[in-house]
C-alpha cells in the first residue's frame, strides 16, 4: 500500500473550485486557466488609462514577501496590487528577521498580526509558499511569485497570455523550451500550462546535464540537437542561464552553450516563419540569445513584461474573491448550525 497522492493543488481551490491561493498550475483545469487569461485580458486596458486603478482590492493589505531578491517580479506584483487599489508593503526578508535567526513560522505569525490579506511569496526553496499557505490563518491568500525549482505560475500564465495574443489559440501549437530546465521553476509551470491548454507538442531542447530526471513525465519530449528541435516550431521559449551554472561540471563554457543552444537568427530560420521568441528575462545577450533576435521582429519579450501586470492583477483579484466567498460560505454554515 502506498500513501495517497496529496497534491498541492487541493490547497489552492475552494470547495466550489474557485482560486483561494495561487501556488502551482498543477491541478488547475483548462477552464480555470482560461478564466485567468480572460480576466487578465480585461485588465490590460487599465494600464492604458490615465488613472490606472480599479477598486477591487481597496482596503486590502498585500505584503510582498521576498525571501529571494527579484526587482522585476516584485515591481510587477507591486504595480498590480496598486492598480487594484490595495495597500502594499514590501518586505525584503532576506535581509531582515529570518537572517537574525527567526523561523519562517514566527515571521509569518508577526506579519499576520498586522492584519494582512495577501502574501506574495518568492522563496529559494521549493514548496515554501505551499508551507506558508498551510500555516497561515484562513482568509489570507498566498500567491507564489517563484519557489526554488518548483513553480512560477504567474510567469507561466503571462507567457500563455502572450502566446494567445499572438497565436489566437493553443490548439496545434508546437512549442520548444530551450536551456536550463533542471533549475527552472518557470519551465515546469510552462510545460504544465501548455499541456492543459492544448498545445500539440512541448519540446525541451537542452544538454543532459540541464534536464531533470524523467522529465518526459511532465508532458514533453526531449531534443538534444537544437537544429532538429527548431523544426516547425510556432513558439520558442528561451530560459535564462545563470552564469554560476557554468561551473560544477554542468557545462564546459558559456561559449559552447551559446554555440549549441543559443538562439541565433540562423537557428531561428529553421522554425516556422511566424515563430515567436520569448524569454522570461533578464536576458543574457550572447549567452542564450543573439541581440538581433532579442530585439528582432519575432521577439515578444517586452509584451511578456506588460502582460505580467495584467496576469498578476487577475490572479490577485481572483484569489481574494475566492477567500471572500469561502469566508461567506463558512459564516452562513455557522449561522445555519
Amino acid at each position: 500500500m502506498t500513501a495517497n497522492d496529496p497534491s498541492p493543488h487541493h490547497l489552492q481551490l475552494t470547495r466550489d473550485g474557485q482560486l483561494r491561493h495561487f501556488l502551482t498550475l498543477d491541478g488547475l483545469d483548462r477552464e480555470l486557466l482560461t478564466d485567468i487569461l480572460d480576466t487578465a485580458d480585461s485588465f490590460i486596458e487599465v494600464g492604458e488609462r490615465t488613472i490606472k486603478k480599479v477598486p477591487l482590492l481597496r482596503g486590502r493589505t498585500v505584503v510582498n514577501l521576498f525571501f529571494e531578491s527579484s526587482t522585476r517580479t516584485r515591481s510587477t506584483f507591486e504595480l498590480a496590487a496598486k492598480r487594484l487599489s490595495a495597500d502594499v508593503l514590501n518586505l525584503d526578508i532576506s535581509t531582515s528577521a529570518t537572517s537574525k535567526g527567526e523561523s519562517l513560522s514566527d515571521t509569518l505569525l508577526n506579519l499576520e498580526a498586522m492584519a494582512s490579506d495577501m502574501f506574495v511569496v518568492r522563496h529559494s526553496q521549493s514548496g515554501a509558499p505551499h508551507f506558508i499557505a498551510e500555516s497561515v490563518t484562513p482568509g489570507v491568500a498566498i500567491i507564489n511569485a517563484g519557489d526554488g525549482r518548483h513553480a512560477h505560475p504567474t510567469q507561466a500564465m503571462l507567457d500563455m497570455l502572450t502566446i494567445r495574443q499572438h497565436k489566437g489559440t493553443f490548439e496545434g501549437l508546437k512549442v520548444a523550451i530551450v536551456g536550463d530546465v533542471l533549475h527552472s521553476r518557470v519551465a515546469r509551470s510552462q510545460i504544465r500550462a501548455l499541456n492543459e491548454l492544448g498545445a500539440a507538442e512541448v519540446r525541451i531542447i537542452a544538454p543532459g546535464t540541464l534536464l531533470p530526471k524523467d522529465v518526459e513525465s511532465l508532458g514533453c519530449t526531449i531534443e538534444y540537437d537544437m537544429a532538429k528541435g527548431m523544426k516547425d516550431l510556432d513558439v520558442v521559449i528561451m530560459l535564462r542561464l545563470q552564469k554560476e551554472r557554468m561551473e560544477g561540471a554542468l557545462l564546459p563554457s558559456e561559449r559552447e552553450f551559446y554555440r549549441l543552444y543559443g538562439l541565433s537568427q540562423e537557428k531561428l530560420a529553421l522554425a516556422h516563419p511566424d515563430c515567436i521568441v520569448m524569454h522570461p528575462g533578464p536576458i543574457n545577450r550572447g549567452v542564450e540569445i543573439e541581440s538581433a533576435v532579442a530585439d528582432g521582429p519575432h521577439s515578444v519579450i517586452l509584451n511578456q513584461v506588460t502582460n505580467g501586470i495584467a496576469i498578476r492583477m487577475a490572479v490577485m483579484s481572483m484569489a481574494m474573491g475566492g477567500q471572500v466567498a469561502e469566508r461567506q460560505r463558512k459564516q452562513s454554515e455557522r449561522a445555519r448550525s
Binding site: 500500500m1 502506498t2 500513501a3 497522492d5 496529496p6 497534491s7 498541492p8 487541493h10 490547497l11 498543477d26 523561523s103 519562517l104 513560522s105 522563496h123 526553496q125 521549493s126 514548496g127 515554501a128 505551499h130 508551507f131 500555516s135 519557489d147 526554488g148 525549482r149 518548483h150 513553480a151 521553476r185 515546469r188 531533470p212 530526471k213 524523467d214 522529465v215 513525465s217 511532465l218
Partner: protein, 435 residues
C-alpha cells in the same frame, strides 16, 4: 535494577493466544511461565504452575520481544527531541524489548565514556534493553577512526556512522579492518556522499515535478557495492542499514550467495510509502534514505520475505515540532515511528504483501541474529516477549503517542494491531491498562 540484569522474584504467566516464534515455530493455546527473568516453563508445566500475575492472551499473538537495530534515543544531547526514558517507553509501547541506540548523540557516542553514560541512564530509566552502537569515526566526521577497543569494552554491540557517510573508500576500508580486529560488526547506511550531494528526496518523478533536489538511486547502489567488496576483503561482519533500492537487494543477495558475511535491514516506512508521499511537500515523509519508487518498495518487501533482508527497523528519529515546521528542504529528515512499526507491518499482512510469521521473523530473530543474539521463547531463554492483538484497531494521535517526537506520519489513521504487553528480561515494560 537494570533491565539487562535478570529479574528475580516475581513470576508471570501468560496463557492462551498464538505463539509465533521468530524461528518459524508456531503453536496455539500457549502457556508460558516467566520466572527470574527467563522462560521457566512452557505448555502444561506452565499451565499448572502458580504465578504472581497471570495474563490472558486470548485472540492475541505472543512473539519474542521486537529488536530494533536503529533507534535514535537523542540522549545525551538533544533533550528537546526526546530522551532515553521517553523513547524507550515509546519503544515498549510498540512491542520492542530491545533497541540499538544510534551513535548520533551529542556528544557523539565515540568513546567508552559516552557508552557508559548511555548504559547507566538506560539501566535506571529504560524499561527495555538498550544496546549502544558506537561511532566508527570520531565525532561521526568520517575522517578519523574512533576508539573502537574502548567502545567494545564499554558494551557497544556494533559500530557505525549513523546516518552520516564516511568520506572516502580508503577510510571506509580502514574502519572495517580496525573493527574486524575487535570482532565488531560494522553498521553502515550506504550512501555515496558526492552523489547524494544536497539532495533530500528520491531523484525521480516527484522531484522533477516539484523541483526538489534529488538523491539518485546510484548514491546508494554504488555505496552498497563498495561496502560489500571492502567487507569481503577485510573479513569484517557488515550490516547494511536502511536499504531503499531494488538494485541494492539484488546485490545483497548475490553477495550472500557468494558467502560474504553481510546482513541488512530496511525501515518499515520504506515498505509502505513511496516518493508520492512527498507530492504535497509533506515534511513528515522527509526521510533519509528517501522514499523511492513503487518497484523499489515491492523489491524490499520481497527481500524481507526471502530473508535476504534480515530485519525491519523503525529508524525512529524523534524531532521537536520546529524541526519539521519549515519548507521541505529546510526540515530535518526522519520520522517518529517506533510505536507504529508493528501496525504498519500488519497493514502489509492485511494486504497479503507479507505473512505474519515473516513479519515477526523480521522484527525478532532476524535483527537479533544480526548482532549475534537470540530471540526465542523456548524454555530457558531470557524472557523478552510481546503480546499483541492483530485484530484490534487504534488511531494514533499526538496526545496518545508516547514518544517526544511530534511528527508520526500515521496520526489520524486507523491502524491494526495493539500491543497489550511487552516484557523485557522478565519484567513488564508496558501493559495496556484494563479497559
Amino acid at each position: 535494577m537494570s533491565v539487562t540484569e535478570q529479574h528475580e522474584g516475581a513470576s508471570l504467566k501468560i496463557v492462551g493466544g498464538r505463539l509465533i516464534d521468530g524461528n518459524g515455530a508456531e503453536s496455539d493455546n500457549v502457556a508460558l511461565l516467566i520466572r527470574d527473568g527467563r522462560i521457566a516453563a512452557t505448555g502444561d508445566d506452565a499451565r499448572r504452575a502458580t504465578a504472581d500475575e497471570t495474563v490472558t492472551a486470548e485472540g492475541c499473538v505472543i512473539a519474542p520481544g521486537f529488536v530494533d537495530l536503529c533507534c535514535n534515543l537523542r540522549e545525551p544531547g538533544n533533550g528537546q527531541k526526546g530522551n532515553i526514558a521517553s523513547e524507550t517507553r515509546a519503544a515498549a509501547h510498540g512491542g520492542f524489548s530491545t533497541v540499538c541506540a544510534s551513535p548520533e548523540t551529542s556528544p557523539v557516542n565515540d568513546s567508552g565514556a559516552v557508552t557508559h553514560l548511555i548504559r547507566d541512564v538506560a539501566a535506571t530509566r529504560s524499561p527495555i534493553h538498550v544496546l549502544p552502537v558506537g561511532a566508527v569515526t570520531r565525532g561521526l566526521e568520517g575522517d578519523l577512526l574512533s576508539d573502537m577497543a574502548g567502545l567494545a569494552a564499554a558494551g557497544c554491540v556494533a559500530v557505525g556512522n549513523g546516518s552520516k557517510g564516511v568520506r572516502n573508500a580508503r577510510i571506509l576500508r580502514r574502519c572495517m579492518a580496525y573493527a574486524q580486529t575487535f570482532g565488531l560488526t560494522v553498521m553502515f547506511s550506504p550512501e555515496n556522499l558526492a552523489l547524494a550531494a544536497d539532495g533530500y528526496a528520491h531523484d525521480g518523478l516527484v522531484t522533477s515535478r516539484l523541483g526538489l533536489l534529488g538523491i539518485p538511486e546510484v548514491a546508494e547502489t554504488t555505496a552498497v557495492m563498495e561496502m560489500i567488496l571492502l567487507a569481503e576483503e577485510t573479513g569484517v561482519r557488515l550490516h547494511l542499514s536502511q536499504l531503499s533500492c531494488a538494485r541494492s537487494v539484488e546485490m545483497l543477495a548475490e553477495a550472500r550467495q557468494r558467502g560474504v558475511a553481510v546482513t541488512a535491514d530496511v525501515a518499515m516506512h520504506q515498505l509502505l510509502f513511496t516518493e508520492s508521499a512527498l507530492a504535497g511537500f509533506d515534511s513528515r515523509f522527509h526521510v533519509r534514505p528517501p522514499l523511492r519508487r513503487e518497484e523499489d518498495r515491492k523489491a524490499l518487501i520481497a527481500g524481507v520475505r526471502a530473508g535476504t533482508i534480515d530485519a525491519i527497523v523503525s529508524q525512529h528519529q524523534p524531532h521537536d515540532s520546529a524541526a519539521k515546521q519549515a519548507p521541505l528542504a529546510a526540515t530535518e529528515p526522519g520520522l517518529s515511528s517506533v510505536e507504529s512499526v508493528l501496525s504498519l507491518g500488519l497493514e502489509l499482512v492485511e494486504l497479503n504483501e507479507m505473512t505474519l510469521p515473516e513479519l515477526v521473523r523480521a522484527l525478532t530473530s532476524g535483527p537479533a541474529a544480526a548482532i549475534g543474539r537470540k530471540a526465542s521463547l523456548q524454555e530457558g531463554e531470557i524472557a523478552d516477549l510481546c503480546v499483541f492483538d492483530p485484530a484490534e484497531y487504534w488511531t494514533p494521535d499526538n496526545n496518545t503517542l508516547v514518544s517526544a517526537g511530534r511528527h508520526a506520519p500515521v496520526t489520524g489513521r486507523e491502524l491494526p494491531g495493539v500491543v497489550r504487553l511487552t516484557v523485557a528480561a522478565g519484567r513488564i515494560a508496558w501493559q495496556q491498562p484494563a479497559s
